[in-house]
Symmetry: C2
Subunit: 377 residues, 2 copies
Amino acid sequence: MPAQMDVSRNTAPAPASNAVSITMRPAADLHVHLRQGPMAATVVPKLVGTGIDTFVVMPNLIPPITDTGMAAAYQKDLYQWAGDAGRDLKFLMTIYLSPELTPDEVRKAKRMGITGIKSYPRGVTTNSDSGIESYDAYYPVFKAMEEEGMILNLHGECPSNPEQNITVLNAEARFLTHLEKLHRDFPNLRIVLEHVTTKDAVDLVASMGSTVACTVTVHHLYLTVEDWAGLPHGFCKPVAKTFADRTALREIVRSGHPRFFLGTDSAPHPRHAKESAKAPAGLFTSLHPLPYLAHLFHQLDMLPRLPGFACEYGRAFYGLPMPETGAVTLTHVPVEEGITIPEVMTVEGMVGPNGTPVEVVPFLAGQTLPWKMTLSS
Amino acid sequence: MPAQMDVSRNTAPAPASNAVSITMRPAADLHVHLRQGPMAATVVPKLVGTGIDTFVVMPNLIPPITDTGMAAAYQKDLYQWAGDAGRDLKFLMTIYLSPELTPDEVRKAKRMGITGIKSYPRGVTTNSDSGIESYDAYYPVFKAMEEEGMILNLHGECPSNPEQNITVLNAEARFLTHLEKLHRDFPNLRIVLEHVTTKDAVDLVASMGSTVACTVTVHHLYLTVEDWAGLPHGFCKPVAKTFADRTALREIVRSGHPRFFLGTDSAPHPRHAKESAKAPAGLFTSLHPLPYLAHLFHQLDMLPRLPGFACEYGRAFYGLPMPETGAVTLTHVPVEEGITIPEVMTVEGMVGPNGTPVEVVPFLAGQTLPWKMTLSS
């Protein structure tokens, strides 16, 4: 079994009561990587039945999704992969911020229903070689986005820099001056600082105006640096930080702050790539996102915060309607009736080294969460 | 090729001159892991001809070396593995601090020529399950060590602790209060804070009395967290920290401080274990320790500090005589005449998964250092 954290490690024992449950509308994942090719063909159908019906899909494909036409084609592919069972899923598309993007293209994208523009600092994560180095050149684009009500999705990390002592550890904290400047210069531009990991960023965004929000991943609510030091299946970007940082994330979620909401950043990578000399960054949480959250929220004694975090706040910030039908119920059950996370998900149509199957190791692989999930329409 | 840092990445370009060289007596490695069984049988003979003739050998075997008899038997094994060509190597032995160790055993160890007692906090690194949790119980042992002139070798890290926000990142800094207390309570006990990684520790030890020193590894002079985030071959304990921390290590060495000296902490691990879901901590630098150092010291314009760092200061602190014969000359040469680090070292007599050979990936595997090394007797 792949080495991963034990779900029982970070948290207090669950109460003995089995009567605990929570019911909410279908949830929304405001930040997810669904990939392309055989990986997408494997992952996308599995989104059906997870209790999440709305996805803001990241554009870091090869090549990146840099215009409206590419986004429309990718969205069409996503619905094809989703199949009949997934026809009611909502795939909200994003475009990769690049020098080719014009204000006119932003306006066209808005008309076509594209939700946001994603900015990657160059080289910091998977397929970010086309990322930006400075924001100054993008001010006309940002102006158009502000006017059109298009969201700016920020991967908020500065690249490694020896002279400035920037590493993966402080890359997010060092980015915050850029966020402050963008917010000051475009106060009506809605900005999402994606996959927040630090107390510094939580405190800053909480103090900012109503147009700035954060997505929070499942895994950053669980993990710290202890879970990726030598452990590739816990390695992602931004890296999970300290216990104090994790506490800040948990506490802002516990407070029910409406500008901190779920974006899983779920990002499948082949196991053979993760277990190699150079592990790619990313964790795969898309199979069971809500049971992961219910388990942790319950152990942290904040289960009632789950509907706001996973369903309501993100939709409200994005201006999306809440579903008027459908319900997801998560119920705490004896562990023998719980949900066992598979050891691996096999990717059909891909072949690994020496002809072996390509597998993805899900977050908390092989562990059993003492929860059951029921969906109703 | 395994992903590792590029030697050209962290440092300024080398001067064009080819006349640069440095000559010194055979060096001393005041902290090394030579293992047991087939791994030791592979590694130990390769120490011959590396320009290092003196090794302080760590006791974290399975089972750990916890008394004088075990240390003597292990030393005998080391000479057997070293063979005729290695009969002049000096293996200085250490004992693993454990509740079984008595003041009488300390005195016996001293009489038998054992150099030091190694303390591992429980669970922080390879084979440290027998490590200590508190120093109080060991005061009688430390008193005997102080009286006998035995060295205390400290793995200076606190175990991970969520309540105290201790992670691998601050585990060394948080340990320093223990070091201060030990030094205050045993001012004449010689203490080596092994494999120092942080500015905090460098500054503290530099400010302390003459009985406290640090070993500095090859790899911590090269690496930062950027080199182990997702990169198992750069992962060790203590983990490499920030650029500022690395600068502190480089600058204390540049200053020629006599209480900061070479201890490689070289620790071979099978490649299949490193490239797995749970990478063990440790880098293997024993094949070419002096070329690694000459290359870096030259690029940092501090090559004249190499003899002090690698030969003199450690021996002086340990009270070992400098060799009266033998010379190691390192000469900067065109890269095509340089030393190419092998991609892997094959371990004879071990079989890996699916019957594959067991290999160890050396530090900077596959890269060429523009240096040649000549030894004379």
